[in-house]
């Protein structure tokens, strides 16, 4: 009889222990913490501020300078050379002279460029680049460019690249989301969405027809 009682108590106790860990706001416990949690620094792990510093002035001091950025001047494999024009009105004007390093794209590359456009640009500019993406039509952000307008058809590809790189008006910079190569690819893709020959005349007549 006593044995049964002890078994009962044990079972009940372990049940309570296991169930009590069930709170959805807490991550819960694991069996072997040293196998579950990494001992090396994981991505996004917070660095100990008593050992590490992000202040470049403290470089070479008692702390380790580390800001998670690649060394200055390093270029990723397959990436284009750095874009050097500054983010000011002068740089904007000069960007018109920068040629697109991508001359032509294969069918697959064009598909990829379209995919990137649809993810990053179409949310505002619309899938046909007519300035009517979901954010635009719901009126959340105003002043979204209709890229099929005459002024954008005439705009140099370098200027488009400049605007994507640094942002323009309400548009932010996309340099952190798209690599330089991807940005040039997207520019090429936008060109395919724009009306081509006799552009000005066509745009004008459609406007009147409305």
């Amino acid at each position: 009889m006593k044995k049964i009682a002890t078994i009962l108590i044990l079972v009940l106790a372990s049940t309570v222990v296991f169930i009590s860990c069930d709170n959805k706001r807490q991550p819960g416990k694991v069996y072997m913490p040293d196998m579950a949690y990494s001992r090396s620094y994981e991505t996004y792990a917070e660095r100990d501020s008593s050992t590490f510093s992000m202040n470049i002035q403290e470089r070479g001091g008692s702390k380790i300078f580390y800001n998670a950025l690649p060394a200055t001047g390093s270029i990723k494999r397959g990436e284009f050379m750095p874009y050097t024009l500054p983010n000011d009105s002068n740089g904007y004007k000069m960007s018109a002279m920068v040629p697109n390093p991508i001359q032509s794209m294969t069918e697959d590359e064009m598909k990829e460029a379209g995919r990137l456009f649809n993810i990053n640009c179409a949310i505002c500019h619309g899938e046909k680049a007519q300035g009517n993406g979901p954010i635009s039509t719901s009126g959340k952000i105003g002043g979204i460019a209709n890229l099929t307008l005459d002024m954008y058809v005439k705009m140099a590809e370098g200027t488009m690249f400049h605007s994507i790189t640094y942002g323009k008006n309400n548009m932010g910079s996309y340099a952190s989301q798209l690599s330089k190569k991807q940005r040039w690819m997207v520019v090429k893709y936008i060109r395919t969405l724009q009306p081509k020959a006799a552009v000005a005349v066509v745009a004008d007549s459609t406007m009147k027809a409305k």
């Binding site: 079972v11 819960g28 694991v30 949310i123 932010g172 989301q177 406007m207």
Partner: protein, 426 residues
């Protein structure tokens, strides 16, 4: 006769003229709306400030009626020469209005007429009448019913035994006093067995669940609703989590990605957000929190200066989001492998993220769950004829041959080594 004809002709002509004029008139008014929508509505609203000022009541503000035509034709030149234009620019900078030199005077007049006559459409009558009223909880009802029935059964049992006792006494049969049920061995054994099974069930599920965090839903530093961003606003998952296609990690977007939209979107105007415990969330305040983290001043529309040379605006700091989906350190998982090569949807493992106000862990992320999917998922082999499918798998020649010879109809991830131990544990 000819005199009649002349009068008829004259009246017809007058009628025609009137008709033409009226058609022209209505066309003119409609034209204003269409022209406004085609050219102006991106930056202007008739009755509210937007990227540019509200246009209604323009005539009381501009210095001269002619000013509008000159401004529309060439805003940049006007800013340089005209005092009022310059003041306008100062108020709305850095955005400068695009020149619309192709708009004719009559067209501008039509737009201005439309703007002045504009009345906002009546707001849709509130239709929310509390749809959740009738949904009563059935399980409660069943529980009460069961209890009542059990009580009735107990009373009936008691009555039965009492009646039997009475009849036994009448007939002169004497039975020994019955053993109380808590000392009856059959009852005890049955009780222990039930307890053992129930307790064992909870213990085992609890023990299996230890280390798994299904439904884990931590409180995040900012109330960020995936339902609003990915659901209502239809932003692609890869807009913010772009590194899911290039790297092991799906990536938490850096604050500048948030600022791509929130430079312009300063306040939340959608449906009220309510937490699960019923408290309301102030969306605008949550956006203000983002500005704090970004070191952005929404009034001057600029980032704070970087005086302490740490490479980010002063006061800015990364948002310490709480990671929800954790795999043990001894498991290797690569997002790009699943997204780019395997062409999986995010929702396969993360659930309907676009409907979650607060994200929780949808899948159990156990090994059995992983392996199950590897056993069932079919690999998208490249088809040379239709040019569809994934070229990555062209190295598996044997399977291509087998498919060609109709020995196989499809290949699962398991067949190409997706359940080998070293695939994920090394």
């Amino acid at each position: 006769m000819s005199r009649y004809r002349i009068t008829i002709n004259k009246t017809l002509a007058v009628l025609l003229l009137v008709l033409l004029f009226s058609i022209n008139n209505s066309a003119f008014a409609a034209d204003g709306e269409a022209l406004f929508k085609a050219n102006c509505s991106n930056c202007h609203k008739p009755d509210a400030d937007y990227t540019g000022p509200a246009l209604k009541g323009w005539s009381s503000r501009v210095p001269s009626p002619d000013w509008v035509y000159k401004w529309v034709a060439n805003p940049a030149q006007m800013i340089a020469t005209d005092a009022y234009a310059k003041a306008l620019f100062e108020q709305w900078k850095p955005t400068v209005m695009t020149a619309f030199s192709n708009l004719k005077k009559e067209e501008i007049d039509a737009i201005l007429k439309y703007v002045d006559d504009y009345t906002p459409p009546a707001p849709a009558t509130a239709s929310a009448s509390g749809a959740a009223g009738g949904a009563s909880d059935d399980s409660m009802l069943y529980g009460i019913l069961t209890l009542v029935l059990a009580l009735v059964a107990l009373i009936l049992l008691q009555v039965n035994s009492n009646l039997r006792k009475l009849s036994d006494e009448k007939e002169g049969i004497y039975r020994s006093e019955p053993v109380p049920f808590y000392r009856n061995k059959t009852y005890l054994m049955a009780g222990i067995l039930v307890l053992f099974i129930v307790g064992g069930y909870f213990t085992i599920t609890g023990a299996i669940g230890l280390g798994r965090m299904k439904n884990y839903q931590p409180v995040q530093p900012i109330y960020y609703s995936h339902k609003i961003h990915a659901g209502i606003n239809q932003i692609s998952c890869l807009y913010c989590h772009g590194s899911a296609q290039d790297s092991k990690h799906a990536g938490i977007p850096s604050v500048n990605v948030c600022m791509n939209c929130h430079m312009a979107i300063k306040e939340y105007k959608g449906d009220p957000i309510v937490r699960e415990d019923g408290s309301a969330v102030n969306g605008t305040e949550e956006i203000q929190k983002l500005y704090q983290y970004a070191g952005w001043n929404p009034d001057t529309k600029q980032y704070n200066a970087d005086n302490n040379s740490d490479g980010i605006p002063d006061g800015a700091k990364p948002i310490s989001w709480v990671k929800i989906h954790n795999l043990p350190d001894h498991v290797y998982f690569n997002h790009s492998q699943h997204i780019k090569v395997g062409k999986q949807q995010c929702q396969t493992c993360h659930g309907n993220i676009q409907e979650m106000p607060e994200v929780f862990q949808f899948a159990e992320l156990s090994m059995g769950w992983c392996v199950n999917c590897h056993r069932e998922s079919k690999v998208d082999f490249y088809n040379k004829e239709t040019k569809e499918g994934n070229k990555f798998y062209s190295i598996y020649e044997k399977f291509h041959e087998d498919i060609k010879n109709h020995k196989l109809d499809s290949v699962t991830v398991e067949k190409i080594g997706g359940t080998e131990c070293q695939k994920c544990h090394y």
